[in-house]
């Protein structure tokens, strides 16, 4: 005890955003540890705070409360030169291969940028060689290195994003839904690539996704998040054998199985995902009436912390300090709404086209 320092330790991290109607508890008291060369999958539905958590870890966002320790060193509030050092150790691969690359930089320049910023290389030639090595590693063809991002398809762009993250050989890579924008066959290629790279480079992954199939394949441990809280953390095999938290159960049962002979037994959640603005004490799922464990929504007791990452699962259910929320689910989708007026109008028109003309 006390001897072993985990690679990454996240302790009671909280992130609250101010919104017009109060505080959005995007991440609320999340803790986990990650060892070298391992992968933790963070799963949950949209708005559960999983991406926010990833961004706090790679310091794109500042935590409201709690600590993130890298090799035992507190990096939660690092600034300046120290922050730059941390960014060389923690990197991120983004979800959208279309917006994560600067459209005006050639592929080679994009991959070379972190190398340039690190000032590790004395000559441009050495830097070029290093960049070429990385691009070869992630499988970017030589002839593509001078092209612009828009000339590449999603899978190849995502390889560029991975190359950029990998350039400085970081210890931790936050993968924020890196495959959800890709087609199945390309997705499989990227997943294989990520696993190969992990074997070669020994990076640890924090794999944020909504796809349970993907985490099952890639992760050693899984953390299930709901409304900003980690409701269940367990090793992958354990979780897929037996889920404890009712939300995890419902989530797992909602995945359409490809086994056609096994009729689905769905625990249908009634209602929609609420949002974590101004949560009241109580279980996060108290207003999802399907939760069979809930004696009464109002019942709430302070956290009886079941130790995280024990042999079995750790979970949050009604016996723990939790909360419920008021429902105005529209807020969750707000960002999606703003995505593109043009597309919206077009689709709206097409719907009209088929119904109204």
């Amino acid at each position: 005890m006390g001897e072993h320092v985990p690679l990454l330790e996240v302790k009671n991290v909280k992130k609250y955003f101010k919104v017009s109607s109060g505080w959005n508890h995007a991440v609320d008291d999340v803790s986990f540890t990650l060892e070298r060369g391992r992968t933790i999958g963070v799963v949950g539905e949209s708005g559960c705070g999983k991406s926010t958590l990833g961004r706090i870890i790679c310091r794109l966002l500042d935590a409201t409360d709690g600590q993130v320790l890298l090799n035992g060193e507190d990096i939660t509030h690092a600034k300046g030169a120290k922050l730059k050092k941390i960014h060389e150790k923690i990197q991120i691969v983004f979800q959208d291969p279309y917006s994560s690359l600067n459209p005006r930089l050639r592929i080679e320049s994009t991959v070379m940028e972190p190398l340039k910023n690190s000032h590790r290389f004395t000559s441009a030639k050495a830097m070029n060689e290093e960049a070429n090595k990385i691009m070869e590693l992630v499988g970017i063809d030589e002839r593509l290195r001078q092209s612009y991002p828009h000339e590449l398809d999603g899978g190849r762009r995502q390889r560029v994003g991975i190359a950029r993250a990998l350039a400085l050989n970081p210890d931790v890579i936050v993968c924020d839904e890196p495959v959800s924008a890709l087609d199945v066959s390309v997705q499989a290629q990227i997943l294989n690539l990520l696993m190969d790279l992990q074997e070669k480079m020994g990076s640890a992954y924090i794999f944020v996704t909504h796809d349970l199939g993907v985490v099952r394949h890639i992760a050693n441990d899984i953390m299930v998040m709901y409304l900003g809280q980690a409701v269940e953390i367990a090793p992958t095999e354990v979780l897929f054998k037996r889920t404890l938290h009712p939300y995890t159960k419902a989530l797992f049962s909602a995945i359409p199985s490809t086994n056609i002979h096994e009729p689905m037994q769905r625990i249908q959640l009634k209602g929609e995902i609420t949002n974590p603005i101004n949560p009241k004490p109580g279980c996060v799922r108290a207003d999802k009436s399907s939760c069979s464990r809930c004696p009464s929504p109002a019942a709430a007791s302070p956290p009886a912390a079941s130790t995280p990452r024990k042999p079995a699962s750790s979970r949050r259910c009604w016996k723990r300090w939790n909360r419920t929320t008021s429902c105005s689910a529209a807020a969750i989708k707000r960002s999606t709404i703003e995505k593109g007026r043009e597309k919206r109008l077009w689709n709206w028109f097409m719907t009209r086209a088929n119904t109204a003309f």
């Binding site: 983004f94 600067n102 940028e113 910023n117 612009y148």
Partner: protein, 284 residues
């Protein structure tokens, strides 16, 4: 390195002249500039040479574009005036684009209080009518070329700043901006390597669009006796001179009008071409 650069500019030029419209714009613009630069040397008349015999004369063999109310050769005055108008229009638009985009970039990128202060300031600024502001500045600084440039610049700054800020706000949410932070890009690099190139399109478009307006504005200033002083021929001033005789001597207003329109058209076509050439997404 050097070789790469030349191939870059060659490629840029190739893309610029790809479409027929931008090619036309470029040719027209170069032509107008050349004619304005060289033309006056070839003209047998000076700008203030008075030919009493042909006061208000229409186009003829001696005076291709006719003469004005004082018997001065209109073509010569147009060509010389073109130098002033073009330089005025270009420099004032470029200057306002430069200053405006710095305000817009800083406001959009910094956000928060800085943003509020800059943008409220811009609101107040743009609440004053453009022409009035122009007159105020011009009256304050006095007549002359440089004061006029500044007077013309001032009015355009808020609209440029607002547009760039909007562009920055939407670009800022894109993931590559986050990525640039994570890979330790300096603030300077984020602003000028990542943000600015992706907001350059509207800057170019507003700048080219503004040139036409600026030329007109310069004309208004000349008309009320501010700005560039007569007898220096400036397109706007020529237009204003001819305005009174529009019914009797239409050539006085027609030729300056046509040349202003042609210039603005050329610049706009060129602006489109520039946008295409600068946007890697529109490349083939």
């Amino acid at each position: 390195m050097e070789k790469k650069k030349t191939s870059h500019s060659a490629e840029f030029f190739r893309r610029l002249t790809k479409g027929w419209s931008s090619k036309l714009g470029l040719i027209l613009f170069v032509l107008i500039v050349l004619v304005c630069v060289i033309g006056p040397f070839l003209s047998p008349y000076g700008i203030n040479d008075v030919d009493v015999a042909s006061i208000n004369a229409g186009p003829s063999k001696e005076h291709w574009f006719g003469c004005d109310t004082m018997g001065r050769d209109l073509l010569t005055r147009l060509l010389v005036g073109g130098r002033y108008s073009l330089i005025l229009g270009l420099s004032a638009s470029l200057l306002s684009a430069l200053v405006g985009s710095v305000f817009g970039l800083v406001a959009g990128y910094q956000g928060g209080a800085v943003d509020s202060v800059i943008m409220r300031f811009m609101d107040i600024w743009s609440a004053l009518p453009g022409l009035l502001l122009c007159i105020l500045v011009s009256a304050f600084l006095g007549p002359g070329f440089f004061p006029t440039v500044i007077a013309l610049t001032v009015g355009n700054i808020p609209s440029v700043a607002r547009m760039i800020r909007g562009q920055v706000l939407s670009e800022r949410t894109r993931e590559y901006m986050e990525a640039s932070k994570v890979i330790n890009c300096s603030g300077f690099s984020i602003l000028f390597r990542h943000l600015l190139p992706n907001t350059i399109q509207p800057i170019i478009i507003t700048t080219t669009m503004a040139i036409g307006g600026t030329i007109t504005m310069a004309a208004s200033l000349s008309f009320i006796g501010l700005g560039i002083q007569p007898p220096t021929p400036e397109w706007g001033a020529l237009l204003a001179d001819g305005r009174r005789y529009i019914m009797v001597y239409p050539h006085l207003i027609m030729f300056p009008g046509i040349i202003i329109a042609l210039t603005v058209l050329a610049i706009n076509l060129l602006g489109d071409g520039l946008r295409n050439a600068l946007d890697p997404k529109l490349r083939d």
